[in-house]
């Protein structure tokens, strides 16, 4: 393992951790709403959330590049406020990753909230809990397998992201050069030994994470 691989690895883990954290904050209320609403907007919202699963990463990346670029809506606004561009920056990467991994956070949570039903929540409410209190004290712990799945899938999915990163982030060492890009670079420059090492590392990390998720879920199911 060359020292050059550690930079991209750390950057990738940092990106995945921040993305997962943000996604939990965004996806939890969104999934709760989707699980409980009878609004006609529900189907449209579900379709939008699921888009990143079916669209090629390049398409997602292209639109994000336009939107986050200095000429795009969000990008221009950001430049006006901070004087810096969102594209080809770590922050732009975080935003793109959140969009791209959103379904992997929302869908497991929504499934968990739907299987929960209203029964225990109603019981909690009649026992004096506010809606928020009932969510944190009853609904969330009862849906913990959904949270485990959402965290692991968002994290692992961000870890392995390539196309969107390349489109939005480019390949700036220490800023946007994540591990999947580094592997691409190594292969391009015919450094197969380094590509082997980095790929194997990513493979092991992904496997260990998924294994941990399934083991954890099995032990939660037994409790």
């Amino acid at each position: 393992m060359t020292a050059a691989a550690w930079g991209p690895l750390w950057l990738t883990l940092e990106l995945a951790a921040i993305t997962t954290l943000l996604l939990m904050l965004i996806a939890t209320p969104l999934a709760w709403w989707l699980a409980n609403t009878q609004s006609p907007a529900k189907s449209a919202a579900q379709a939008i959330v699921a888009l990143p699963i079916v669209l090629p990463p390049t398409v997602m990346g292209f639109y994000l590049l336009i939107l986050l670029g200095p000429a795009g809506g969000i990008g221009r606004w950001w430049v006006e406020i901070t004087g810096e561009a969102l594209t080809f920056s770590f922050l732009g990467l975080v935003i793109a990753s959140c969009v791209y991994s959103l379904p992997f956070a929302v869908q497991p949570l929504q499934a968990a909230f739907e299987s929960l039903g209203r029964r225990e929540i109603e019981a909690a409410r009649t026992l004096g809990a506010t809606r928020l209190d009932a969510f944190f004290s009853v609904a969330a712990p009862m849906s913990r397998h959904g949270f485990v799945n959402a965290v692991v899938l968002s994290f692992a999915h961000t870890l392995g992201e390539f196309g969107v990163v390349l489109m939005v982030g480019g390949n700036i060492p220490g800023e946007t050069r994540v591990i999947s890009i580094a592997i691409y670079d190594q292969v391009e420059s015919l450094d197969y030994a380094a590509a082997h090492a980095t790929s194997a590392l990513l493979l092991v990390i992904a496997f260990v994470m998924l294994l941990a998720m399934y083991v954890l879920n099995q032990s939660l199911a037994k409790r």
């Binding site: 225990e120 019981a123 009649t126 004096g128 209190d133 004290s137 712990p141 009862m142 409790r223």
Partner: protein, 363 residues
Amino acid sequence: MSVPRDSLSLAYTLVRGEFRLELEADLPMRGITGIFGESGAGKTSLLRCVAGLERPETGRLAVAGEVWEDSASGTCLPVHRRRVGYVFQEPRLFPHIDVRRNLDYGRRRADGERVDFDHAVGLLGIGGLLDRMPDALSGGEAQRVAIARALLRAPRLLLMDEPLASLDERRRQALLPYFDRLHAELDIPVLYVSHSLDEVCRLCDTLVVLGGGAIRASGPIETVLGDIDNPALDAGVSILHGSVTDYDRHYDLSTVALTAGHLRVSGSYGIDTRLRLLIRSSDISVCREHPSQTSILNILPVRIDAIAEGSASTVQLRLAAGPDHLVAIVTRRSCTDLKLGVGDRVYAQIKSVAVRGAAFPPP
């Protein structure tokens, strides 16, 4: 809006598709009020409205002088600020925490009001279950925990939605004595939804009969059961109250003094115990003369107070025994042969008396 302090005053209109609930009632803030009716009559909807779990089209609810809901003025307390203890059909315990923490859930949120933990636990006999997880409890145990959890919330009002319905007959019989104890020892008014006349007759002091989303009859349970002109409830049973004055060990018979006369019932209950006696209408026959040679021990002098049509072959008689009422079913033929009429003084022979709820406090 006038808000009497000793009553539970409610009025609701709730529309859900084809179903329409529309009712108004003033219920006592003491004892157990049975909400009785077929499934689909609106019993559960009514309870859910009181708890704030349904949003009715119009609603008014005042509990002991406190207005909880008044759609006219836009008042509507959210669920968590209504001090109710809700016991659902299923226990609905929180599966991720043990029994003790389930019990503490409502207690910690009771705004400083405390119900004695050990008393509630003792009342429902769940002291040995505190460290168990809910999935390690039987159906009856889980329901007892759910009742204790509701009590520990320090409610103004207990709402019970067929708490025995999810249990088999054996467990139901095992749980009923706990309800007798709640009735005897607690000072919290209870709305008790049930479609079982047996449960209602055993437990309730007041009865509301629901049908098709409206109130068909309501009042003290003895009065409602004795209202033979109202077709909403053909209960076929009467309730009498009395206290035990004597026990004959040789024949295992207790003598129960009523306001007018006395009855003998099987079993020993302890002198001065207040008993609730259930008498089936079909177990009562009527004689013009005091019968001399009969196997029937219980003969009460009564006055025919009302006569109502029963089936093609029977009529119902309401018999007044002092302030108490008994409903008897006799054949139309006997009624004609004996020339029975309202106001006649006759003798009621009572074949068997069922005793329910042996430990009631004096009313």
